[in-house]
């Protein structure tokens, strides 16, 4: 940058090259570190979701459990001598320890493992009894010996081990059978309505069919705005931009009344058909793109007698794939995300729900089970595809935002 030359007269002390480099490396490092810290904080909820979705459903609600997916450590004793023991008691009159002659054994039992201060992780064989003075008897499995410690196991924390489970996903996927509260019970749905698999299927149909119409109509309208001059065009374009700013509530109720009157409520049609009439965002994005294409090609084709439709199909569209793919992706994930419209049009029809409503339904009906891990697994199912596609096509998404945002 030219700025370095400018700095010299301002700065009083000329620095050596090495110290300047060191200074630059230091500021680079600290700025990057600050950004990394903020960024980690920013995406921490997402990391929580991953951790919770793979965590054991009882671990996650146990106080003192680790934050990563884990289960309580256990130890199964197989060695008969190692896990045989005698209990005892303190004789009150003499104050001496009296051993109970009966041999106790825990062979084959799963023993809980505790973090014993000063000893590491030990498996609990016999618990402390304050009334008899019986200490805790532990098995130190690494040293193959028994250890007696006078502590109460209640005061100890359990030992945990890293453990990933997929159970939450099967709980979420199979939850349709488990609905016992909420607005609807499983039986009133006529048994199993398919749960998440059904929601995904519905979403793909609604989003897929809607995307076709949204993209084609936006291409056509954007071509009209970009390539023809006619009276009123600029006013209409302002109206188009204005519809972006128009609060949806103003049209929502009459639309509902109309769709209800023609019997479309309780079907997917209100979620699909309106998108066949070009959305302002998509038109804007495509028009901006079309305007950047050189006109010479269309002019040449026009002189050769090509109709505007042919020009659109064979000249404009082949040059515009980046923008068209952006619109395809935008609409697909808009439909994936759409909440209010399916909420009002599909009330009481869970078998028609797309994923956004389905996930909310899952959350409201399943939350009573106090199993955040299963709910996070449901959230993960709903967001994984949009997030993966975003990472694969991040430039498309981020450029689209800037085009429709800045150029107005």
């Amino acid at each position: 940058m030219t700025s370095i030359a400018m700095e010299v007269p301002v700065r009083a002390k000329p620095r050596s090259r090495l110290s300047r480099r060191l200074h630059k490396a230091w500021s680079r490092g600290s700025v990057t570190l600050v950004a990394a810290g903020l960024c980690a904080l920013f995406i921490l909820p997402l990391i929580y979701m991953f951790s919770a979705a793979f965590d054991d459903s009882s671990t996650i609600i146990t106080p003192g459990a680790p934050l990563y997916p884990a289960i309580a450590k256990t130890y199964t004793c197989t060695d008969a001598t190692l896990c045989s023991y005698h209990t005892g008691y303190i004789d009150v009159s003499t104050g001496k320890w009296v051993v109970d002659p009966a041999v106790q054994s825990s062979v084959g039992q799963e023993l809980p493992v505790y973090q014993v201060p000063g000893h590491g992780d030990l498996a609990l064989l016999a618990d402390h009894d304050p009334s008899t003075g019986q200490p805790c008897i532990f098995i130190d499995s690494s040293a193959n010996k028994q250890v007696a410690v006078l502590v109460s196991s209640v005061s100890l924390s359990q030992a945990w081990q890293f453990h990933i489970t997929l159970d939450n996903f099967s709980t979420a996927a199979g939850w349709a059978d488990k609905i016992t509260s909420g607005y609807v019970t499983s039986s009133s749905l006529g048994g199993d309505f398919g749960g998440f698999a059904r929601f995904f299927f519905n979403t793909f149909i609604i989003a897929g069919v809607g995307t076709i119409g949204a993209t084609i109509s936006a291409i056509i309208v954007a071509f009209g705005f970009a390539r023809f001059r006619f009276p009123g065009r600029d006013v209409l374009f302002l109206v188009l931009i204005g519809t972006i700013l128009l609060p949806f509530q103003v049209t929502l109720i009459p639309q509902f009344i109309i769709f209800n009157a023609i019997g479309w409520t309780g079907t997917w049609l209100p979620l699909i058909v309106p998108h066949y009439f070009a959305n302002a965002y998509n038109v804007f994005l495509l028009r901006q793109y079309f305007l950047t294409l050189p006109r010479e090609l269309d002019e040449a084709a026009m002189i050769d007698g090509a109709s505007p439709l042919r020009i659109l199909m064979f000249i404009i569209i082949p040059q515009s794939w980046p923008a068209i793919i952006a619109v395809l992706l935008f609409h697909f994930f808009f439909a994936w995300n759409d909440f209010l419209a399916p909420l009002i049009y599909l009330t009481g029809k869970p078998d028609l729900y797309p994923i956004a409503i389905g996930l909310n339904y899952f959350n409201t009906t399943f939350r009573v089970n106090n199993a955040p891990s299963a709910i996070q697994a449901g959230a993960l199912l709903a967001l994984i595809l949009p997030v993966v596609i975003f990472f694969l096509a991040q430039r498309v998404f981020m450029r689209g935002v800037v085009i429709s945002g800045v150029e107005k």
């Binding site: 030219t2 700025s3 400018m6 700095e7 301002v10 500021s27 680079r28 700025v31 950004a35 920013f42 995406i43 909820p45 979701m49 996650i60 109509s217 056509i220 009209g224 023809f228 001059r229 006619f230 209409l236 109206v239 700013l245 128009l246 609060p247 949806f248 509530q249 103003v250 049209t251 109720i253 009459p254 639309q255 509902f256 009344i257 209800n260 066949y276 009439f277 070009a278 038109v283 505007p308 909440f339 956004a356 996930l359 909310n360 959350n363 409201t364 955040p372 996070q376 959230a379 993960l380 949009p386 997030v387 990472f391 991040q394 998404f397 981020m398 935002v401 800037v402 945002g405 800045v406």
Partner: protein, 332 residues
């Protein structure tokens, strides 16, 4: 930067009569191509708007549409008297006051950060700060509900361990007794919790700020530096005026977005705005009025009232923009 289309090569070579034909043809084709949008505009925007306005003066109820009467301004009078509606207006204003400044300045701050020349891996950071925008809203709210849970959520552990660490320092001993709020079960923390969730949506604004920051000509900074301006003066006297148009745009969209706020709060707090109506925003009230109790006439009145407020705010913003938005030279 507007698009200039005056360089139409046809005008120079064609005869006047042919030009007229071309103009007519252009008009005809133009409207043919615009027709999908024009039909949609009439069917799904213009007619519903008129119907909505008309219905706002009636007692239309979807369950008994034939018993609709003209009620004059009764719906609007109801609105101004109804306790729940008053509550919803109050909560929405409170939410806007908490959320709008925090959101826009966070977006600007992050944009400045990821625009730093010294930052390594800029693209990774931009992508990560934008990414939550791409997460379906319902999923992101559900993630946040459990992330903020007062017993098992990570934020509780994070805040409490930071507070505990601070409590070890001199004079900050009181910090070690800090206990995390139970966000969505606490009347006074539920709305701030929603504001926090809203920060996940800054990505779009950040990118628009970033584009604004990158379009500031470097000569301006150089000139300021020659005049002895430090980093803060450069930011205040060069960056801020130069990005004021994108600031204006972001602020306008944010205010409109706040007026339309619904999905997050519905997923989080249900139609009643739990706890205790503390998150009962305007659109929950609209939803309950129009779909909960089927009072669609009242619902239309609520919708139009909101629309007029948003319109008024936008007009005021545009009118006053000459005073605080700097449009460079002949660009506009």
């Amino acid at each position: 930067m507007g698009f200039v289309q005056d360089t139409d090569i046809r005008t120079s070579s064609a005869s006047p009569k042919r030009k007229l034909n071309m103009a007519q043809r252009d008009t005809a084709w133009g409207f043919v191509f615009l027709s999908p949008w024009l039909i949609g505009l009439a069917l799904f925007t213009a007619i519903p708007m008129i119907v909505s306005f008309a219905l706002s003066f009636t007692d239309f109820n979807i369950l008994s549409p034939t018993h609709t009467h003209f009620v004059g301004l009764a719906n609007y009078q109801w609105m101004l008297a109804d306790d729940l509606t008053q509550q919803s207006i109050f909560i929405t204003l409170k939410f806007a006051i908490l959320s709008v400044p925090l959101t826009i300045f966070t977006a600007l701050g992050i944009a400045l950060l990821v625009n730093q020349k010294l930052l390594a891996g800029k693209r990774v950071f931009r992508t990560l700060f934008f990414m939550p925008v791409q997460i379906p809203l319902v999923a992101s709210v559900i993630v946040w509900i459990d992330f903020l849970n007062g017993n098992t959520g990570w934020l509780k552990f994070l805040l409490e361990s930071v507070a505990h660490a601070l409590g070890q320092l001199p004079f900050l001993g009181f910090m070690s007794s800090f206990s995390s709020p139970n966000w969505f079960n606490d009347d006074s923390w539920a709305l701030p919790g929603l504001v926090l969730i809203g920060l996940w949506g800054i990505g779009t604004m950040m990118l628009i700020f970033l584009a604004g920051l990158q379009s500031v000509p470097t000569e301006l900074y150089e000139a300021a530096r020659v005049d002895g301006a430090g980093a803060w003066r450069q930011f205040r006297d060069v960056t801020l005026p130069m990005i004021s148009p994108v600031f204006f745009y972001n602020l306008l969209l944010l205010i409109i977005g706040t007026a339309q706020y619904f999905t997050q709060v519905y997923v989080l707090a249900g139609p009643l705005g739990n706890p205790d109506h503390q998150t009962y925003v305007y659109n929950l009230n609209l939803y309950n009025t129009a779909w909960g109790s089927n009072e669609m006439g009242r619902g239309c009145a609520l919708a139009w009232f909101m629309f007029l407020i948003v319109l008024a705010v936008s007009v005021i913003m545009f009118r006053t923009s000459a005073r605080w938005v700097f449009y460079a030279g002949a660009d506009r």
